[in-house]
């Protein structure tokens, strides 16, 4: 429940879908919408969005990145808030768009104004909407992977855990090195597959050692990487985005699992 401070209209939220949720796991997008609506937000999904631009940015193409940044800013600046179920994409919009547009004063100004209103989903629910209750249950032991950008650029650590603690039936079992990178790194994992393989194997070893039945996280990149590796290893451990569990929508096949 949200402690509505007054009877001002519900905040408008533009959902930044993220390319990986759009392509691989729409369920996470719908889970985000459900959670936001429960928190009394008016959610819209602007059509003029594709990706936050990290593939270009982290591969050195500033020009394309700046174009994409302008596209995102234009599509989202009319909302009270921009929310995404990804720390990585929000980190990009919030921390990096102003840098990418630093030589373009009017766009820099727009980027900075948007930056203050961008939030990763769990941080938005806890820190901004002060969500107290989560109407969901999920009977499983789970461990949580702290994705790097969310953790280090946005300080997301307690928020998803606070929300999970309110989900009926979940027991959280922390793994070793939950804050160490899973080896995804965007195009890193295909440019340096052997190094990435080693890093993700270290991660899955820690997941297995935690004896949790499922692994949750807040970023699709990491989750696809981790799920892909767990499945390659023949592990039965289930992989879900934390939003799916919080919204009571983890009833579909887990990431990388077939239809049962």
């Amino acid at each position: 429940m949200v402690s509505a401070p007054d009877n001002s209209p519900p905040p408008s939220v533009g959902l930044f879908v993220t390319c990986l949720i759009d392509l691989f796991r729409p369920n996470v997008g719908f889970a985000a919408v459900k959670l936001l609506e429960k928190a009394d937000c008016k959610v819209e999904v602007p059509r003029a969005q594709t990706c936050c631009g990290q593939p270009a940015y982290n591969n050195g193409d500033q020009h394309t990145t700046a174009d994409i940044a302008r596209q995102v800013i234009a599509a989202f600046e009319s909302f009270d808030y921009v929310v995404a179920a990804s720390g990585s994409c929000i980190g990009m919009i919030k921390e990096h768009y102003p840098r990418v547009l630093k030589d373009d004063p009017s766009w820099l100004d727009r980027a900075q104004r948007l930056a203050g209103r961008c939030h990763e989903l769990t941080a938005f629910l806890v820190d901004v909407m002060q969500l107290q209750e989560v109407e969901s249950s999920f009977a499983a032991t789970a461990t949580y992977h702290d994705s790097c950008s969310g953790l280090r650029e946005l300080g997301i650590k307690q928020q998803p855990r606070a929300l999970l603690s309110k989900v009926g039936g979940v027991t959280l079992k922390e793994m070793e090195d939950s804050e160490v990178c899973c080896g995804f790194g965007g195009t890193f994992c295909i440019k340096y597959p052997k190094i990435s393989e080693r890093m993700v194997s270290d991660k899955t070893a820690n997941i297995v050692a935690s004896e949790a039945e499922c692994i949750l996280g807040g970023d699709m990149g990491c989750l696809l990487n981790i799920a892909g590796r767990l499945k390659r290893e023949g592990s039965p451990i289930k992989v879900y985005h934390v939003a799916e569990v919080l919204a009571g929508m983890a009833n579909q096949s887990a990431i990388g699992d077939g239809k049962s």
Binding site: V17, I21, D22, L23, F24, R25, P26, N27, G29, F30, V45, R47, A48, T50, G53, P55, A56, Y57, N58, N59, G60, D61, Q62, T64, D67, I68, C148, R152, E153, V180, C181, G183, F184, G185, G186, F188, C189, I190, K191, Y192, P193, K194, I195, S196, E197, R198, M199, D202, L224, A227, G228, R229, K231, R232, Q252, S253, G256, D257, G258, K259
Partner: protein
């Protein structure tokens, strides 16, 4: 057997398959990380000291000429000499000129700058005998290898390897017993080195700091061999780079508090030793000659440019210890003197980006290095900046640039993007939906050689959303 920066990928893969190296790395990793964490936790004002340290270095860099000149003046006043070297070659030449023509016994303390300028090779070519006195450096010198870590040069070696090495190399001193315990290994090295200390002509050390107000050079060690290296021989030569200078002893105490904690998790390193000039009339020991060779080697170009922050680096090694890539492949794979995150920034700047194209890319930008760096150096940002430069100079692979360009065209046209992605996910979803994943997929071998690719759920979110509303 120095590797090559252009062979990064091959070297990294070899390292991943090297079981001995992997054992050594696994053993070292946790130790550094845990010890640092505890040391930082015990110091509530760590963040404040960190801010102070940054301010000290920034102040110094803003007035670098002033402090270097002050340092030189103070060295002269205390009876020493300062030699300026713009390049690695000039630095080696300066050291060789000080040593003189006759072949000498040279002792060396640990110094990364001397690795950077290739000093050992230059001295050996000139006919001098060089003995490393830092235990780690001594070990890798015996093994004819470069250091793999900036503070723990032999971290890639297991104890068994060291035992074998000592047995093979120390026989000539009559030490035939096989030493397997750490303490015995250290003692045996000490025994061998002691004879060298007493007969050496020249001692060369690096410097963690140069103190402008006193003209002192400072070394920070845990073995004390560095102290003997600079005290016993007749001539002491310090090799140090320009950014090592700091204004005062007070500033040094601030930086020392960060250095040891970040490096090894100690409150203070065992030996923090200052050298000020040659031996004075009433000194009991010390060298007769004291020289400081101050090396630029590209650093002054970094002043004020986008890599300026890197000049704050105090070579603590924390970024290496916390880097999951370094942890997986070790230091040699990077192919040059400085490995890990700080090396991936410095190496391209020193030997040319075109010669080290992989280094800025072989990083997930996970940010752990920047998080632990005591000098608040934004390492991931600088690695990304190097990627910008690679892109501008078209140094990246043509195929990768092509793919990026195609993706960029699509990503800037949302309508078209949504049509294309809807088709793609529908196809992939229908092929892979039942299994939930692909074991292999054309064009995705980079991904699928290490892991399955989870299948898309079927339709894109955008498509489903438009249908629902």
């Amino acid at each position: 057997m120095q590797g090559s920066t252009t062979e990064f990928k091959r070297q990294a893969e070899a390292a991943l398959h090297d079981a001995t190296l992997q054992r050594a790395m696994a053993k070292a990793k946790g130790g550094f990380v845990d010890k640092r964490r505890l040391a930082v936790a015990r110091l509530p004002e760590f963040a404040q000291i960190r801010a102070e340290a940054k301010a000290i270095k920034e102040h110094t860099l803003a007035h670098l000429d002033y402090y270097l000149e002050q340092f030189e003046r103070k060295v002269l006043e205390s009876g020493g000499r300062v030699h300026w070297a713009r390049t690695a070659d000039e630095a080696c030449a300066a050291v060789l000129a000080i040593i003189g023509a006759a072949s000498k016994q040279v002792l060396k303390g640990k110094s990364m700058v001397s690795e950077e300028i290739g000093l050992n090779a230059a001295m050996e070519r000139a006919g001098h005998t060089v003995v490393e006195t830092d235990l780690g450096e001594y070990i890798i010198q015996l093994a004819h290898e470069p250091p793999s870590h900036i503070i723990a040069p032999a971290v890639h070696k297991t104890r068994d390897q060291i035992t074998d090495l000592f047995q093979a190399e120390h026989e000539k001193y009559g030490l035939t017993e096989r030493v397997t315990e750490t303490e015995d290994i250290v003692n045996e090295a000490r025994q061998v080195l002691r004879t060298k200390f007493l007969s050496a002509d020249v001692g060369i050390t690096g410097a963690n700091f140069l103190i402008a107000e006193t003209g002192s050079t400072v070394i920070v060690t845990n073995e004390g061999n560095g102290d003997l290296t600079q005290i016993l021989p007749r001539t002491h030569i310090v090799t140090a780079s320009i950014e090592k200078v700091i204004p005062s002893l007070d500033d040094m105490t601030v930086l020392l508090r960060l250095l040891a904690r970040s490096a090894t998790g100690q409150e203070m390193s065992s030996y923090n030793t200052l050298s000020t000039g040659p031996r004075r009339a009433d000194d009991l020991d010390g060298p007769e000659e004291f020289h400081v060779v101050i090396v630029d080697n590209g650093r002054s170009d970094m002043l004020g440019n986008e890599f300026h922050d890197m000049l704050r680096c105090i070579r603590c090694g924390a970024c290496l210890n916390h880097c999951p890539v370094y942890g997986a492949i070790g230091g040699h794979a990077y192919g040059w003197v400085y490995p890990g995150p700080m090396g991936s920034v410095l190496t391209p700047l020193m030997i040319g980006l075109e010669n080290a194209r992989d280094l800025p890319n072989a990083c997930t930008l996970n940010g752990r290095c920047g998080e632990v760096c005591p000098m608040s150096i934004p390492l991931p940002d600088m690695l990304r900046t190097l990627r910008f430069k690679e892109h501008e100079r078209k140094l990246s692979k043509a195929r990768a640039r092509g793919a990026l360009k195609a993706w960029g065209l699509l990503a800037r046209r949302p309508r078209l993007y949504q049509v294309v992605t809807a088709l793609m996910t529908a196809v992939l979803g229908s092929i892979g939906g039942r299994a939930g994943r692909f074991r292999s997929l054309p064009l995705a071998s980079g991904w699928t050689q290490a892991r399955d690719l989870p299948a898309p759920q079927g339709a894109t979110f955008q498509r489903m959303w438009r249908r629902r509303r």
